[in-house]
Amino acid sequence: MNKLYKILFFLVIVSLCFNLSLSAAPKIVPNDEPIRDLKISDFPHDDGGGLVITWEPLPKEKRILEYRVFRGFTPDSLFRIGKIPVNPKTGVVADTMKYTNAGYTFFVDATSPAKLKHEPGQRKGSNAEKILYREYPRDIKVYAPMLEHYRILTVIPADKYLYNSRMKVKTQIDTLEDGTVDTTSSTYAGLKLRQFKYILTKLKPGKEYYYAVQAVNKYRDRSPLSKIVSATPVDNPPEKLKEFYSVAYTDTKEMKFEWSLPFFKTDQKQFNIYLYDANGEKHKIFSRATAYPYTSQSNATVSFEEIKNKFEPFNSQNMQWYRFNISLKDRQDMETLAKDEPIPAEITTTEVLPEPPEHFTVRDNPDDKGDKNLIYFGKPYVTIPKISYNDDFTELLVNYDIKDNELFKVKHAIFEVDGVSEKEYVLDRKVEFDVDPDNLPNEIKTRFICYDHGLELPEDYEVIHRFSYNERLQVVDIEPPKGANYSVQVLRMNKTGGGPQANVWRFPKELTYVEREYPDKVDYEEVVYRGISDYSIEDNILYTSTYYLVGTSEEERAYYTTALYLKQLEKNRKELKKQIQSLKDKKSQAEDEEQKTALDQQIMELTSKLEDVPPVVKEANAKKSNKARMKLLQKKHNNDVRSFRYFLRKTDGKGHFIDTPIYTNADGQEYFKPKPNWFKNKETITLIAMLIFGVLVFFMIRAARKGKNLYIRPIAGIQEIDNAIGRATEMGRPILFVPGTSGISDVATLAGLAILGKVAKKAAEFETRILVPVRNYIVLPIAQEIVKEAHYEAGRPDTFDKNSVFYITNAQFAFVSGVNGIMVREQTATNFYMGMFWAESLLMTETGNMTGAIQIAGTDAITQLPFFITTCDYTLIGEELYAASAYLSKQPMILGTLKAQDYMKFLIVVSVVLGTILSTLKLTFFMKWFPAK
């Protein structure tokens, strides 16, 4: 009867909760209307690869969770290309929603669904029936025929393309009108889909695409599909550049131009600057290719002489007559001028310009994998983000941040307020001054003391910040220092001259006036980008072009295009030779001198193509295997594309800029390529500590093996383990052992498992059941194996029950309720908690406390230690957890490590005390040996 009541009570509670949750749930408005007002517009200023889809969002009562966007090149097959998630509680506040389908977007990769699947929930008879599909599948039969409807860009890991692609020659035979047979053969690189990183698509200009949108509500009900709308992307002229400045410097006889960069960067070819003469006629005086996909320069210097070369009547004396404008030209040669009306030049001299950044230096960035160059310049600087007073205005608190570099590494800073100096021995970013409340200061001076290994800082060098107390806002206003409107642009160019569009400086970073150091990222070229030329459904292979661009560092030829395969190379050479021979034959038969000269010209061109090969390519072509050849070419290529030269440009963004010369080091080196480093210098102290510890371990183990009696402090929690197991045996109740709730990668879990081995062995000897609930499924088999071995070692394999070590769940609190249930049902006599724990610790130990079990815990989780200490009988604190297995085993090897640990701790304590004393005596050298991070 009692059981029946319990079940009934349980059912009543469950149904009550369910009813309450249903009644509390908001009313559902059926998702039975399609979204309205679906419109498609062309994406502005692009290359015809973008469309913008807009629609009116559904009311928030519909509880819409997401809007799904479908696209197709026919109206009867639309694929899901994206979604816009929405908060179902708040809905969308805006009047319209927008989805932009522009640029290269993800199409398919090896992780795409295997098969083509219809979108679920399409109502029969609706306009969506049988036309909506999920994502593009990785099935070549489905996606390959679609490739021709989009612009395709594939991203291929370089090693896959260069070393693992398959050469394929495709021959096309055409019969011409005159009956002759024309044979063309092309070579491709064949790759399986899994060899690609991914394939991207972009819309084709002038092609019609169809779009529809479907709303999905919180309950996964799909709205009827919207009207299917089509649009054709159009190639647009580039955008207007927002800012443009022209400044004429009469003393240096040059003009400086500066402009803002465009927002839409994908379709840009070059910047052109025009001069308008007194008659309003336009003359191009400057042109520069953009650095896309890298950031282009936003400024240019053109000498009067260069202008005169382009526009002969130019006379700098008549500068006030001239007007200037800039245009951006795209790849289809559409051009947009920045200003509706050309602007006059500001006429000035270089006296208005600031000094260029001094001490500009480039070197390899230390402690990295070889992907950064370190750039630094200028003397040290201090930024003061905040100044504040205490309540009675007797103390001034200054927060500061030191900006230094390798040449001037700041050791100490001296701050001066109202003639009172404070020397900061430890640069802890704050300094305090006692001030007179009746005469508040308004200036803080900072001087620096640098380490000796760099340059010597001038004695009179100081940074001054002015400030005043704002009575109204009750804050301290800090004036921007002189020169704060100037920033420093880092400009770089690699050995290939910035890519196929040679001689283009890239602009990777604009630094504020406070910065003194910049690690410039120089990535390894790990992928290649190719289109798709063909495919084979039978072989499940995609074919890409086989050209390989190798950087040559030659002035006249930055890149050289060569074949990917040796066989292809040989074939090309044979064809060239055949063509040359054929031309020579023609020449020998030709009678006309003019024809002979033309043929000679052709022969010369082909011979040059055959023989004029860069030395590195010649050397590579002599290799026996494709792999060896490509490795050599890649080495050269990587060297050229990753070697950069640098200069700095200090600018106010309005045509007032000044450059440093291109940096050359003392050895005359101009190009800098980051080198991969073999040792992290910052970790030196860690390595030294590790070596000392290793040596200590070695000697202690040796001492222990020789039989030296190593004293180890007794730990109550460990000594009581045997008694706790004995208690369970006497009471005839099981032991519970929780090996932490973390994974196997946590060292605390490993320490917990080591203790489990000892406890399980003892329990097996006493024939006491041991229960080991596990939260992590990787820990499970290890714990099972440990308990099994413990039973074998104790000579009681028969008492081992595999199900006594079991997995409960990965959910934190569900695991707790599972463990608590075991404690209550099984009335465990002894509970062990050994390992890493979080918030669940107290829930478990309090329950154990209530069931009257003796509890021993051990953890390195500082936040959980107080709970264990309060509720358990014994607690192993921090390191004691790691020492426990050594205590229990009493093996010399393990005891040796424990003793070494103690000596190491002693050394650390000595270091801490020594560091404290020295720092108090203002000797900070020792402290600085130990980096904070």
Binding site: K369, K680, T686, L687, F693, V697, K761, L898, I908
Partner: protein, 208 residues
């Protein structure tokens, strides 16, 4: 052989990861990334072990008609039902799987978590009973810290928040750091023991 090969794997990989800590070279970074990819694959397979263990324990309970075996049915049903919901309808928002998570798992977890407040009060009562000099000190410190964390502390005297901060920043932080230091050394020693093959318990059993 059964133990030698795993030991060798642990030793070699352990040494490689020690080297990785000090070597920033591309080779070292690439190796680490490669290992991370493999780790993800291996870990996902281990789920089978957990689910297998759970099913085995509970089917045994049902077979043996162990006490409260009915709950084992409930566990298996919940496991199968939730997994099926995830496999059939997916795990995105609005699916039955997410409904179960939001309306069953999350409230139950929150319920367990909320119990912590009561347990904490009970633990605090045990800890703060002023039976000795140390416990009295603990009690006083606890009262100050608790008052300093609420506005009433500042209302009593503005010293209380300052003292609270001092207790947290100086004695409390010093003790924490001391424990962390010991933990760090303990971790290093344990890792060293494992890498050098001195500690082999994780392989099963205590044979050294």
């Amino acid at each position: 052989m059964k133990r030698t090969i795993p030991l060798l794997i642990v030793m070699i990989l352990g040494m490689m990861f020690v080297v990785h800590t000090f070597v920033p070279h591309k080779i070292s970074q690439d190796f680490y990334n490669w290992y991370q990819t493999w780790l993800k694959v291996m870990v996902s397979f281990a789920v089978i072990l957990g689910v297998g263990s759970l099913l085995m324990v509970h089917t045994n309970k049902i077979k043996r008609k162990a006490p409260a075996w009915g709950y084992s049915w409930l566990t298996i049903l919940a496991l199968v039902g939730t997994s099926a919901a995830g496999f059939i309808w997916g795990i995105e928002d609005g699916t039955p799987y997410m409904w179960i998570f939001e309306n069953v798992n999350a409230p139950l977890g929150a319920t367990m978590f909320s119990l912590l407040a009561f347990y904490m009060a009970s633990a605090a009562y045990k800890a703060f009973r002023a039976r000795s000099m140390e416990a009295t000190l603990l009690l006083i410190a606890a009262i100050i810290v608790m008052l300093g964390r609420v506005s009433i502390g500042n209302a009593i005297t503005e010293w209380i928040p300052d003292i609270t901060q001092w207790i947290l920043n100086v004695p409390n932080l010093a003790a924490k750091r001391a424990i962390k230091l010991g933990v760090g050394l303990g971790m290093t020693a344990t890792s060293l023991k494992i890498i050098l093959g001195i500690e082999r318990t994780y392989l099963g059993g205590g044979k050294q």
